[in-house]
Symmetry: C6
């Protein structure tokens, strides 16, 4: 584990807008991958595997949806 | 990441009806794919992979269900 | 996307009974597939792929469970 | 869809105990499969596919966990 | 279904500590497998399939995370 | 099951910050794997399987997202 990686940018789940909340969800999903595979060269090598695979693109969508659910609740849905 | 893509259309989770909430869920699920694979030609190439694969169609259904759960809560279930 | 497809039958998550809520969950899960693959002939062709595959039958069960969680909450669990 | 199948036994999510809630979760998970594949002979044929496959057994566990979360909430966790 | 299997040990979701809640989550995840595949010899045969497969180990982690979410809520997060 | 493994470090879901909550989510996800496969040599052998596989890295992200949702709720989202 690369302990130096910050996994929650800004160390807060609070964002101004849904759009920013969505961006945070995408970043948090990616940072777990960075922590699990800290080797940047390996991550670069793996990138086409998911960016060019319909199943993996959908799987990323599932992770982002799950992270976003948490962030949206934290922000009381920006109501 | 294609930062110019807006991931939450209208920058709000609030919709008038469940039907509009469902449409938003479908759009948000698709926009994550767009952000992860910003190359439109590649996305077009991948489309038949999931539109003609029963497993991937179901996987899309799972993502939409997860996004919709968040949107439905944000709208207090349109009660 | 076949915009003419209504994705939430009755445009409401409110049902009289758990059984009707469950039926709505099944319908909503199917309608996402219809929206993603609007070609009825293709959907007919894909049907045996999931109706005769144990893994896909279970995956459909997962989607229905997720949709039902939302519908059950909307109905305050019919308590 | 076999409309005659009752998908929520007893048409209620309320159970006396966690154990009965768990049994209901298992039944509800199975009844979705029955509705999606109403042919009993086909279901019998598919049974070994998941009862003898570690991945599918775990996938069933995921569906049951999701159904149980809903039932447990409906029962206020039997507190 | 092996009806004699108790699926919720102690017939309660309430535990003294998060650690005990986590142990309950692991047990409940395993007991669904036991109910779906009651033949102990077959389960023993399948064990290496998931204990030596990275993907299945992660899938078990997903089920445990889902069960634990329910148990943690039941215990008001042991706050 | 290696009963001696502590599955919830510190036996608490409460953390000071979102970042620490995220670290706890990652640890809890890993400890389930440790409990299911207590043989350290086997775990070392399996490590490249997921650290070098795009699909498994995403699957780990899904587990962490699910654990984090529970931890974030326990901490009232650090609001």
């Amino acid at each position: 584990m690369a302990d130096e990686v910050q996994m929650v940018p800004g160390n807060s789940l609070i964002t101004k807008t849904p759009e920013e909340g969505r961006q945070l969800a995408v970043k948090m999903a990616r940072l777990v991958i960075k922590v699990t595979q800290p080797d940047a060269a390996m991550r670069d090598k793996l990138r086409p595997d998911y960016a060019e695979d319909a199943g993996l693109l959908i799987a990323i969508g599932q992770v982002v949806a799950t992270e976003f659910a948490t962030i949206a609740t934290a922000n009381n849905y920006w109501r």
